[in-house]
Symmetry: C2
Subunit: 755 residues, 2 copies
């Protein structure tokens, strides 16, 4: 294993990398030309205006030397904004998300101090490793539990410490859960009037031979909620229409591109080939071609729009039902409507931009079958994902490529290229798989039929967490593929498993330290640099942007990708908890990660990210339960490790701890979870009463009328200008901010892909 010095050198290198990233960032962000990349949030808020419009050099490159001297300023600036203002500025989701890092600091700083004061001397002052003459060891090992001789009574110190660590973690978790539940309730209570406060999503409306869906919904709620029902909005199956609009937008981008090209070089009319990917077919004038295509698609779209609006079959058996008061909606969302629990299912409506429209109309039985199949698929994905990758790897070698594409043979046979490919190919299938994994998991979650983007993200995060737990954590500790592991575990006794894993834990400390430095430190520094959006913005800015509006669209503020980042943070919690009693040397690296990530993400949340929706921190129960899982794993692994160290009399103490931890989790769940899933009537009543007193003449029906119309129909107002463009192609588009938020969501999924 590596010595302390080796670790020091590696830490130096990785810190340097991170530092260089930060330097580059600090310089790039000062250039006005990059302003939209590093401060998009302020543009979207309308506080910052584009500096490029006037066009002088000063507006592109920052020439003020004083600015460069203060380039570290962003860090204190990021920390300066107080939390209430942050919630106001970026929403509760973001504010709570960065509290996860803060929680990491709160948990691990005291644990690190304690571990270094107590455990390091206890481990260091033994000679076990020195006495074993045939074993090579390093200073690092002398700091770990490996240096304590078997059967030593010093293990009681470790037991005591894991009790202290566990109770400290639980105490902090309890406090945090309480704080965040309060924040959420306060946030919900102080929110402005919003349509989702009055609205319930009703799914599985039964079909009625005599009535349309709309009439049926109306009659049902008039009868069963006579004092509270106000109005409803049926949902349309506009999936095909949405695809058409999507296609048209892409064509429109191409049109703009060629128009720009023509403008810049009017001597040459741009042309394209009409065939597959522009490689084959007839060569035509590009601008005319795209203009014609767009107008064709527009007609098709109009027809489809008409069809959806008039065809009763396009109405799906789901509706957004609104009530006269928040109280009425809270009641309807929490109660069962009929004796058949597969029809008239009600749940609190997600906010309009959070709705995932495609999943509104899945019948009950189908939904159950889908969830079963996805669960089975997830199991195979987690444990057997290496099989298809190994197959692809065995096919995708040089000989295979030469066989399929013989004309590439001379190129491949060139020596440098050959060695490059041979070194590169084996890993590429795995790398591609890992890049695509979050998208795949999101796809699986969509199949499961959740109806809001926020719940889809939460489900994907839960799947990704399982994958990381098995393949990154367990997979790194126990050698061999997941498939071999599962086979081995099945043939081991349950008491053996923590032993096998536990014994390997101290030996893997070096590996995880470098993992934390590479993935954690450098990864976070890469996040703030925003390389992909940087490149994309400059490409778009060069080829597609004609107006201020276009430039706003070219911005890619991105958002916190909960489904990807949260499970990764969980790995650090897990590592910290597992290594705290075993090899405390790992802890400072975890602490640095949390501190650095906290500053970086606070900066990003303030200046960059634009959230797609606001769920009011409803993801916190998931975060909490996953840290608890990490805690229980750490306790079981220490139990396994100590049982090989002839410290048998400590076993009862170590068995009691996970039981207490699980009970604590159940207690927290009962105590706080309802704040995240239920809607107290008292709070609803207070808001209703206040509102009635303040605005006795409020026309709620008008307020709610269009709230839950499919965005594609709301688009009516902003799609029209595009149609106009066909006839006046030089006129600037007038897309409103709604379009902006739609674009964000589509690019959010691109980010999912590349994350």
């Amino acid at each position: 294993m590596a010595s302390l010095q080796d670790i020091g050198v590696a830490a130096g290198i990785n810190s340097l990398t991170a530092l260089i990233f930060l330097m580059v960032f600090a310089i790039l962000r000062l250039q006005p030309v990059n302003d939209r990349i590093y401060f998009p949030k302020w543009y979207l808020k309308g506080i910052r205006a584009s500096p490029i419009s006037s066009g002088s050099l000063k507006k592109i490159v920052n020439l003020d030397p004083k600015m460069y001297l203060k380039f570290w300023n962003w860090m204190p600036a990021a920390l300066r904004m107080p939390e209430p203002e942050l919630i106001d500025h970026a929403g509760l989701d973001s504010a709570v998300y960065i509290r996860i890092y803060l929680l990491g600091l709160k948990i691990f700083v005291p644990i690190t101090v304690l571990a270094f004061v107590v455990l390091v001397p206890v481990n260091w002052t033994n000679n076990t490793l020195e006495e074993l003459k045939d074993v090579t060891f390093s200073d690092l090992d002398k700091l770990s539990i490996s240096n304590v001789p078997a059967g030593s009574s010093r293990f009681w110190v470790h037991i005591g410490m894991i009790y202290v660590f566990s109770f400290w973690t639980m105490y902090k978790l309890y406090k945090e859960y309480k704080i965040i539940a309060t924040m959420r309730l306060h946030f919900l209570a102080s929110e402005n009037r919003r349509p989702d406060q009055y609205t319930v999503l009703v799914k599985n409306v039964p079909s009625d031979p005599d009535e349309s869906v709309s009439e049926h919904v109306d009659h049902f709620f008039v009868v069963n909620h006579p004092d509270h029902y106000l109005t409803h909005q049926v949902a349309y199956n506009a999936n095909h229409l949405a695809t058409l609009v999507e296609n048209k937008k892409s064509l429109h981008n191409w049109l703009t591109y060629y128009q720009n090209k023509y403008e810049r070089d009017p001597s040459k009319k741009p042309t394209i080939k009409t065939g597959f990917w522009g490689l084959w077919g007839q060569r035509v004038d590009a601008i005319n071609y795209y203009a014609a295509e767009i107008s064709k698609l527009s007609e098709e779209e109009d027809a489809e729009r008409e069809k959806v609006m008039s065809d009763p079959k396009a109405i799906i058996p789901a509706a957004f039902v609104s009530f006269k008061s928040r109280w009425g909606a809270a009641v309807c969302a929490q109660t069962q409507q009929t004796s058949n629990p597969t029809i008239w299912l009600t749940e609190w409506a997600p906010e309009p931009r959070d709705v995932y429209w495609r999943n509104l109309a899945i019948p009950y039985v189908e939904l159950n079958v889908r969830r079963f199949l996805v669960a089975v698929a997830l199991f195979f994905l987690v444990f057997f994902f290496m099989i298809p990758i190994t197959i692809v790897q065995s096919i995708a070698n040089l000989e295979g490529i030469e066989k399929v594409l013989p004309f590439l043979k001379p190129v491949i046979e060139a020596k440098i290229i050959k060695s490059f490919i041979q070194g590169f190919l084996p890993g590429i299938a795995l790398k591609i798989f890992l890049i695509l994994l979050p998208t795949l998991l999101m796809f699986m979650s969509k199949i499961e039929g959740f109806t809001s983007l926020s719940s889809l993200e939460r489900r994907s995060a839960s799947k990704y967490h399982k994958f990381i737990l098995v393949n990154v954590f367990l997979g790194s500790i126990v050698a061999g593929t997941a498939l071999q592991q599962i086979h081995e575990f099945l043939n081991q006794s349950p008491a053996e498993i923590p032993k096998i894993v536990g014994v390997s834990i101290p030996m893997k400390a070096t590996f995880f330290i470098s993992y934390i430095m590479v993935d954690g430190w450098a990864g976070i520094a890469g996040e703030i640099l925003r390389l992909v959006p940087f490149v994309m913005f400059h490409i778009k800015n060069t080829f597609l942007v004609k107006t201020e509006k276009d430039r706003e669209e070219a911005m890619d503020p991105g958002s916190l990708t909960f489904a990807i980042s949260e499970p990764r943070i969980q790995l650090y919690f897990l590592l910290g908890l597992v290594y705290a009693p075993v090899s405390p040397i790992l802890l400072p690296f975890i602490v640095v990660f949390f501190a650095f990530a906290y500053v970086v993400f606070r900066h990003q949340v303030i200046n960059v990210y634009d959230q797609k929706y606001e769920s009011g921190a409803s993801f916190w129960p998931d975060v909490h339960v996953r840290i608890m899982i990490g805690l229980v794993i750490s306790q079981l692994l220490l139990l396994g490790l100590l049982s090989t160290k002839e410290a048998g009399e400590t076993t009862p103490f170590l068995i009691a701890l996970p039981l207490l931890t699980i009970w604590f989790h159940l207690f927290c769940k009962g105590r706080f979870e309802s704040a995240f899933v239920k809607f107290p009537l008292q709070d609803a009543m207070i808001k209703d009463t206040l509102e009635k007193a303040r605005e006795p003449d409020l026309n709620l029906k008008a307020f709610l009328e269009d709230a839950y119309i499919h965005p594609i129909f709301k688009g009516g107002e902003f799609e029209k200008p595009i149609l106009d463009e066909e006839s006046h192609p030089m006129v600037a588009t007038k897309r409103n901010s709604r379009m902006g938020s739609k674009r964000v969501s589509s690019e959010g999924s691109t980010k999912l892909l590349s994350g």
Copy 2:
């Protein structure tokens, strides 16, 4: 292992025992003097009147020879009553309970036929056992899977059959769940107006410095359910008062006893000693003594009653809140009231006689701690209960007794007594434990803080089921104590456990066949004979009964003891499912058990049992899930068994089956469970609307006023006559029917003890 003939002989003997029991029952039930033992239900319903009052011989012994010829009549009579009438007569709980036996028949009759047609020939026509010359085997083994050679392709037939069996079981379970959900909804919908339909139990009312509990409840619900709140009833801590009343009743029994004694033999005044258990102390006149004691206790009771009614500290932070409509109550029961989920907890109120008053006031955190401790205690009880019993057994031997009680030495040393005690003692500690077990489990459930008798019974049943599963089923198959088993299982790989158990399954068929005959057949026949109530009634009738009312009290109709009997039925389901693919010879015995038990319990429900409460079959989800557990266990054990038979290629098919089964269970849960735990608003609205139309002037407040007063205060009306009795001891007591139902509940718990 036993041969077919041995089994035949054993079956003959057990059938004969059962037959003798039935004959005795058939004769006893015809005697008018036993009428109140075998037909108490009809007396309680007021349909049958006591035949003893006139006193002739004919009224005591039945002399009509024709009646004796038709003594089998009770069986067809028991089957004749149609189900709707049965529900009307005995309640839904009872009607659904006997459907469990019917479900057993529905599942196992076709399985038995199929197993005998398909599996028996497949097993029989092998020669594996005959070829193994050093193994003794019997005809019985030739019928089982043991006779199929390792690696045979005949195992595919067994795989096919377990699929057929599983799907058939699931199909029947699904249909039954559906039927019972419908029955429950219909039952609830057709019920008469009852207080619990309008009432919600509110627990954990927070304390308020300025308001009493009653005012606080009133204000909270007036504000938060302004349109629906009607009234409320606070709950009192009357536990001490209840104890006093209980004690007085016992003293009163003694008074009656001595009065009767004196009446029959006026020459001798009965006297007692006042010391411990009447063994020491001053000798006084018994009648005067008890009269004085009762009047003393009555005064104490009055003081306590006054104290409870006037002392604000006697009001506990819980209340029964009633609403103007069923809709309002359904809403309140299903929603969360405040943002703090540990206060103002609402749940649908149990019906008044179902309330378990002592548990209404447990704070939230304490409740959580209690449940955790009970869970830990249950774990130790299930796995380590043999330890204290072994200790008791080692102490309670002859030498130990002689040491403690040396004066018994000459008696014990007598040869016959000595051998009897030596044969008897080792088992007695275990036997006493097993008899006390249900009471112990009920006590643990009470600690968990459930607030209704029905939920207490369900929780106890669930605990008892776990105990039977581990100690009767697993304990009989795998030799050794549960402690040894758990140690062994922990040191085996998870894949080994089904193997170890699975391999032993065919070998234990004979054991379980005799178990079924002794416990099942003879046990059921014993149930119909009602030996304990028979003896108790005649004792009471001789010594305590003076009036018709007293005689009615001396009856012990008992009730279906769900907490004890249901887990035992589950053992038969489990045995049937486990042995169906392995040793089909066991199935006919199971079928006979279910058929016999069905007839017997239908008779008992019609003629004997008097239920303490009506929960509307809310126990069905528990029954369903336990049969599902049995099904999964049977599948895993066959998987284990086949994996030792070199039938490896069948494994994937056997792994898929439990997954499908678990999914099916989740599907059923989602589809039906809500009918048992939630309260659809539509149904509430229908009943409300009908009621409003039929009785527009209904004074609901008056109807609900006294519904949820602690029974001890309602007792005010019937306790008074007892006070009068003190001055006129010869006047008959006038206890009303409420007293009757209270007595049933206290004797029901005696039954728990002896069951």
